[in-house]
Amino acid sequence: MPTVSVKRDLLFKALGRTYTDEEFDELCFEFGLELDEITSEKEIISKEQGDKKAEGASDVVLYKIDVPANRYDLLCLEGLVRGLQVFKERIKAPLYKRVMPNGEIQKLIITEETAKIRPYAVAAVLRNIKFTKDRYDSFIELQEKLHQNICRKRALVAIGAHDLDSLSGPFTFTAKRPSDIKFKPLSKTKEYTACELMNIYKTDNHLKHYLHIIENKPLYPVIYDSNGVVLSMPPIINGNHSKITLNTRNVFIECTGTDFTKAKIVLDIIVTMFSEYCENQFTVEAAEVVFPNGKSYTFPELAYRKEMVRADLINKKVGIRETPENLAKLLTRMCLKSEVIGDGNQIEIEIPPTRADIIHACDIVEDAAIAYGYNNIQMTLPKTYTIANQFPLNKLTELLRHDMAAAGFTEALTFALCSQEDIADKLGVDISATKAVHISNPKTAEFQVARTTLLPGLLKTIAANRKMPLPLKLFEISDIVVKDSSRDVGARNYRHLCAVYYNKNPGFEIIHGLLDRIMQLLDVPPGEKKGGYVIKASEGPAFFPGRCAEVFARGQSIGKLGVLHPDVITKFELTMPCSSLEINIEPFL
């Protein structure tokens, strides 16, 4: 969930009133926001770097507000204020307008070289804007929030904002060999080639995260003006030449990316938010983008879409009984201008360009419910009549684990993920013989594979509890995972029961007795007769030679029991003899 940090006093000034922290928290809650933290720059620095560093930092109160991940229109102070003011019916939602320029339209021409790396671009102009320090900071911060969220860390979309008066169109969005791109980037004093820049930014804490997007590509995307001035090398850095300042009056905004839909949304969000500060409020000057196929489009789209939803559908989905007129009013409070039309039960809803999250009637239903107030909705129990059933495997597991504890064994709960070493080397088995499922992106060795046996987890549990009085008697009934090509995903779980006995003597007879008890509980008689169980001398690398037996029940091998091999005991950092039992319980369903 993105967190937006705004200055409290600035926020209250824009809202036209003050709130106590509790009141504001309550307002956020109602609207689906969360006042996550009340802090200040000073407090943040002192928390992260110590009191010394924080000296002199601003102690202006900051509100950190959690915003739902799909509400890009609330990612800055301007949007938050607009949303809350409309919600509280203090203002009406503005109407965003695209206007054609008096003179020539700004053009961005995309060349076909971009196709393989970053094929889409959109653009717009904010004309006669007035920045202040706070507005400017918010403008930069919004771009950063969008980059981190909808833009997927600039992989899908990257934004560039430029001082239009320092440039001369038309602009060209092309792709070139890195060695052929040379410009002075933001906050540098000399020119570098793209290759040099990529090297420099490897140690830049902010930019290093974006390098991978183009790093290994033969051509890098780049935007020029008609004089060959570099506007930006998306998605890495803008040129210094067209840098916007507090004095910038005309802003050229370009968004390039690999996802056309998202590029358009991002552009719409930026211009709807900051056209507030244009001389003609909420108007945006169009720009033309010419694609390599010669087709030309005008941006920003700023499209208003009409949706029709029946009032009774909203009432039925939410569980309320409001008149269509009231529902229309509720929706209007959510920046969705609505009116009742037709037979008096139809509501026509206008979806503004700021609300790209509204893609289905259910999104409209939710907004009606939020405006109605979730906590005002009457709670009712559904009349759904059903008979409960347990999943048979879990039912058996529940029954067995209680009787395992009754037999004196204590239940462990170990991880399903572990290292290759745990299920292979430490048990004297080669990893290739385990049929284990392998994880491709483990951050540490603890998450290399899914366990194929419960034994390592229990032995590690004993190792972590060596101080406890002996004997230690542990069990676990849980799932292991193996590859199985007969399953749709190519792997399956098996429910295993594993028990270990750890003491000064191996206690094979105790583990054997436990098996006998389990079979008694499962109503499986001893003996080789059909339906019975036997254990037969066997061997396995994890067991001491001559102290291992295989368990056969209902005509199939279900597992092994025995005294663990001293090498196994040692590898798990244990010192005492230990015997174990591990069986698959699925044949007993």
């Binding site: 969930m1 809650f29 689906g32 969360e34 799909n70 997927r152 998202k262 989905k317 939410v318 569980g319 893609i359 289905h360 009637a361 259910c362 999104d363 239903v365 939710e366 419910a369 939020i370 979730y374 129990l381 559904p382 759904t384 009549y385 059903t386 008979i387 409960a388 999943f391 684990r401 395992m404 009754a406 037999a407 004196g408 204590t410 462990a412 709960l413 170990t414 991880f415 399903a416 993920l417 499922v437 994880i439 491709s440 483990p442 998450f447 899914a450 590690k460 549990t461 190792a463 972590a464 509890n465 406890m468 069990f475 799932d479 590859k483 749709d488 995903v489 190519g490 792997a491 779980n493």
Partner: protein, 508 residues
């Protein structure tokens, strides 16, 4: 017969005594260890009101081992004096005597002897006086005779400095008759025996009282894991509410069932390598229900079922990628798909509690795997009000009655609501679960009828368990680093019962 001969004698003496007697004096008179008398006192005390015993502590001077020797043999300086003959003795020879070194300097400072350093064969020691008084021996003998008070304070402290005397504190009992005094106390039986039962002798025997403040002996037993005890209770709650358990025994899932089927777009951050464990082997799902896959693909990329869709290029390869399921909702999606294929539609209530996996940064409350609890109801015409009603009943069974709901965003539910409950301890609202109505873009491609709504909610099993059992570090609860003592000691899980008093340091 009382407990042993000493107790017997004690009772008889006490009968004759006027007022009472002192345990130490009795020991001295009887010539037994004081401890034996104390034992007798204690065993008589245990019988009830036979005697009364008042603990007194007295200080007494006693001789050290060296002091005893001197009281017997004389002080070192006296012994040195006596060993010097009238004709004198070579100093070197004198120094070899047992008392030589200590005695020589003392005898010198007492001016009993002198040294002639001019003697032909080395320094020689001669008597100065003809006889002397051995005060040290005399004083020590006084102390031995129990007359330490006859010595001056200064004399005692000098002897103590020489480590010949020590002051000891003696704890004695002043014993007097109790309200039920009798000389004929019989020995109490420790336990009832089969013989007593068969002979009936238990009727005439007194029994030793039990010490009820002592701890009992804990039974040898196995124990269930606290987290799984809580799991059992949650299963029970769902079953009581008529919910059927979904199969969840497949940790490995395809991206399709884990994400795509839930209308979670392919560029969603949850599908990032940083958040999800993907598989190297088997890297891809072998089979997908292709008809259904096509409907899902269309809904994502173009929309449909009343939806605008996400308008991006949906890739089958991305859907095939295998992973460790990141939520049990993947299993719910499979269950709903099975339900959708069964005609005609029948309403259901489903639940599951099982493991899910996240490739997350680990800390005191987050592990790479945890348990998710999920409830799902599918029926015609279900509303947000129904969801809230079911949640109220569910949380009431957990002992949570103060609820409120906050609008939220989940990719696959709309409307969505986070569930908050008021935490009495923290004095604030805390999130206890997440919920919503599944999106039509998820349900309709499965083939569920259009007027069927599906309400669902989820929460983690670990969090309520940690709160219930007062555990701060999740590693002490889940995984091999568990504290087994905690497992042994953990109480029953009764979710709706009032929490017990906070554990004191001692009990912990």
């Amino acid at each position: 017969m009382a407990d042993g001969p000493v107790a017997d004698v004690l009772l008889r003496r006490l009968e004759a005594a006027d007022g009472g007697l002192d345990s130490a004096e009795l020991a001295a008179e009887l010539g037994v260890e004081h401890q034996a008398v104390v034992g007798a006192v204690k065993s008589l005390q245990a019988l009830g009101e036979i005697i009364e015993a008042e603990l007194r502590s007295t200080k007494r001077w006693e001789l050290t081992a060296e002091g005893e020797e001197i009281a017997r043999e004389g002080s070192h300086e006296a012994r040195v004096f006596r060993s010097v003959p009238p004709e004198g003795l070579a100093q070197s020879e004198l120094m070899r005597l047992p008392s030589g070194k200590v005695g020589f300097s003392k005898a010198m400072s007492n001016k009993w002897i002198r040294v002639d350093k001019s003697a032909a064969d080395g320094p020689r020691v001669f008597r100065v006086v003809d006889s002397m008084e051995d005060d040290v021996q005399r004083r020590l003998q006084l102390v031995r005779g129990g007359q330490a008070e006859k010595l001056a304070e200064k004399e005692r402290s000098e002897l103590r400095k020489r480590k010949l005397l020590t002051e000891v504190t003696l704890k004695t009992y002043w014993v007097s008759k109790g309200s039920a005094f009798s000389t004929s106390v019989s020995k109490q039986e420790a336990e009832l025996s089969p013989e007593m039962i068969s002979s009936g002798s238990w009727r005439d025997r007194p029994f030793k009282p039990y010490n009820f403040s002592a701890r009992g002996v804990l039974p040898d037993s196995g124990h269930l894991h606290p987290l799984l005890k809580v799991r059992t209770q949650f299963r029970q709650i769902f079953l009581e509410m008529g919910f059927t358990e979904m199969p969840t025994d497949n940790f490995i899932e395809s991206s399709f069932w884990n994400f795509d089927a839930l209308f979670q777009p392919q560029q969603h951050p949850a599908r990032d390598q940083h958040d999800t464990f993907f598989l190297q082997d088997p890297a891809e799902a072998l089979q997908l229900p292709m008809d259904y896959v096509h409907r899902v693909k269309r809904t994502h990329s173009q929309g449909g079922y009343g939806s605008q869709g996400y308008k991006y290029t949906w890739k089958l390869d991305e859907a095939r990628k295998n992973l460790l399921r990141t939520h049990t909702t993947a299993a719910s999606a499979r269950a709903l798909y099975r339900l959708a294929r069964k005609k005609p539609f029948t309403p259901i209530k489903y639940f599951s509690i099982d493991r899910v996996f996240r490739n997350e940064t680990l800390d005191a409350t987050h592990l790479a795997e945890f348990h998710q609890i999920e409830g799902v109801v599918a029926d015609h015409g279900l509303t947000l009000g129904h969801l809230m009603g079911v949640l109220r009943e569910f949380f009431t069974k957990l002992g949570i009655t103060q609820l409120r709901f906050k609008p939220a965003y989940n990719p696959y539910t709309e409307p969505s609501m986070e569930v908050f409950s008021y935490h009495q301890g923290l004095k604030k609202w805390v999130e206890v679960g997440n919920s919503g109505l599944f999106r039509p873009e998820m349900l309709l491609p499965m083939g569920l009828p259009e007027n069927v709504s599906v309400i669902a909610w989820g929460l983690s099993l670990e969090r309520p368990t940690m709160i219930k059992y007062g555990i701060n570090n999740i590693r002490e609860l889940v995984g091999h680093k568990v504290n087994l003592q905690m497992v042994y000691d953990s109480p029953l899980c009764r979710l709706d019962a009032e929490p017990g008093p906070p554990q004191t340091q001692e009990a912990a």
